[in-house]
Amino acid sequence: MILLESLTKLFPGQATPAVDRLSLEVPAGQTCVLIGPSGCGKTTTMKMINRLVEPTGGRIVLAGEDVTGMDPVALRRRMGYVIQQIGLFPHLTIGENIATVPRLLGWPAPRIGARVDELLTLVGMDPAIHRARYPRELSGGQRQRVGVARALAGDPPVMLMDEPFGAIDPITRLRLQNEFLRILRTIRKTVVFVTHDVDEAIKMGDRIAILRDGRLVQYGTPDDILAHPANGFVEEFVGADRALKRLDLVTVREVMQADSGAPTLPAGASIRHDATAKEALSAMLAMDQEGLRVVDANGRLVGLVSLSGIRRLIAGTTTLPA
């Protein structure tokens, strides 16, 4: 869907490129997270995709079409764009902010009105209450929701999100992440998501691209990157607790074994099959048990998860203290 080929940006007057021969492919409907230390070129890469920054080398192909040949204005209307500072228009109501792209696209008024209400509901805000409010009357979390809704308004196939939840308190951030994941399950989008938070990258990304000094260091699934860091930089970047982080990516269902009776387990020692391996481990440690019964949504016994099963999962991921 989005293909970056040897993408390069050398800002005038600078010795080294901000983005250096970056090549990666984001399949349609997937979320690609760009992550790396501050100044590694994440924002520049993102802005080249919607041509707020013109590349000095390489090319960007969007759905088979070279972006550099396209009218930037038309291109941008096919891409939702969310930035950390949100940039809501202070003189327009929440409804008018969200209606921006539909208006630019010339939709009829009733369709715009319906779309605004649909999106406000989607991001968990009551249209009747919020449609006519102004940005300054909202909390930071609400503003960012409106920012996301505004970017989704024209139903663009691509979403570009530059640290969208970066300036929000941790609890609200968690909630927005979950909501956005839920939204992505209902409306499939190809997303390029920038963050500098490893946990957010693991949570949001189908694929993670790790950048350093404008270069791609590793590109893979979250599990792939946690299990097999390409080098010391990645290993350090994802953190010494990467083994534990992996446990967050796996559900109990994936590590359980068939039910073998397990008569020794006490009555309360059970866990739902859609819990994470980390939650199972935590429960086992808390109950001082070597294993747990796995039950489905209806409480039926479907298998057994054991400490040794989890240990096998993270074998090879362990990090020795430096």
């Binding site: 707020l52 204005v73 500072q85 949100i86 940039g87 921006t100 102004y134 505004r150």
Partner: protein, 216 residues
């Protein structure tokens, strides 16, 4: 003395009306010309930092030049009458409008502009839909400052034969006729205060609801 002033007013209605009309015409024309020239210029300057540095500094210096100096200096250049007064008052009105137009556009949140461009607005759309509406309160505050200054400055047009309500004061002082002073001074004061209030109202009207102080 107040009665004497009132009596003078009633016995010279045409004289007073002419002075008032001259005063208003002079002020209105100067303000209109200055706005048409300076507001677009300030907006253009917000696009070119190098030219803006020079122009805004010049405007800031020009702003400190006394009104009387600007009017008086017209005399050797353009002579006396309405036209030199109009030129002088226009010059007086330009700096505040220019500076506020520039500042008004510059203070628009760059993130809002980036969002607008990123959403696919053309440069013209960004200007018309985001920058201008957001800057309008600041721009109109500049016009208000200029308007009050021009109405006051028009009083001084009397010194260079430009006419207006200042004529009553200069004759009042020359003839030491105190009622005449009132005939000039009271309407001038009311006119200035009225201008201030009128433009304040305009400024409020032009401020988008989401940006009005204390309306949340």
């Amino acid at each position: 003395m107040v009665e004497a002033a009132w009596a003078y007013l009633l016995s010279h209605p045409k004289l007073f009306r002419d002075a008032l009309v001259t005063h208003l015409t002079l002020s209105g024309c100067a303000l209109a010309i200055a706005t048409i020239l300076a507001a677009p210029l300030g907006i253009i300057l917000s696009r070119s930092p190098r030219a803006a540095l020079v122009a805004i500094n010049a405007a800031n210096v020009a702003r400190t030049v006394p009104s009387l100096a600007v009017l008086a200096i017209m005399l050797p250049i353009l002579g006396t009458g309405f036209a030199p007064s109009l030129v002088a008052l226009t010059l007086l009105a330009i700096p505040p409008i220019l500076i506020n137009a520039y500042v008004g556009i510059r203070q628009v949140d760059p993130d809002a502009i980036e969002s607008a461009v990123g959403m696919g607005m053309t440069r013209l759309q960004v200007m018309a839909r985001i920058e201008l509406p957001v800057a309008l309160p600041v721009i109109s505050a500049g016009v208000r400052t200029a308007a009050v200054q021009v109405v006051a400055g028009a009083t001084l047009a009397a010194f260079i034969g430009g006419g207006g309500l200042g004529d009553f004061i200069t004759s009042g002082i020359a003839l030491m006729q105190l009622p005449l002073l009132l005939v000039g001074a009271v309407p001038i004061a009311l006119l200035a205060v009225g201008t201030e209030l009128l433009f304040h109202l305009l400024e409020r009207t032009l401020t988008p609801r989401g940006m009005r102080p204390g309306s949340s």
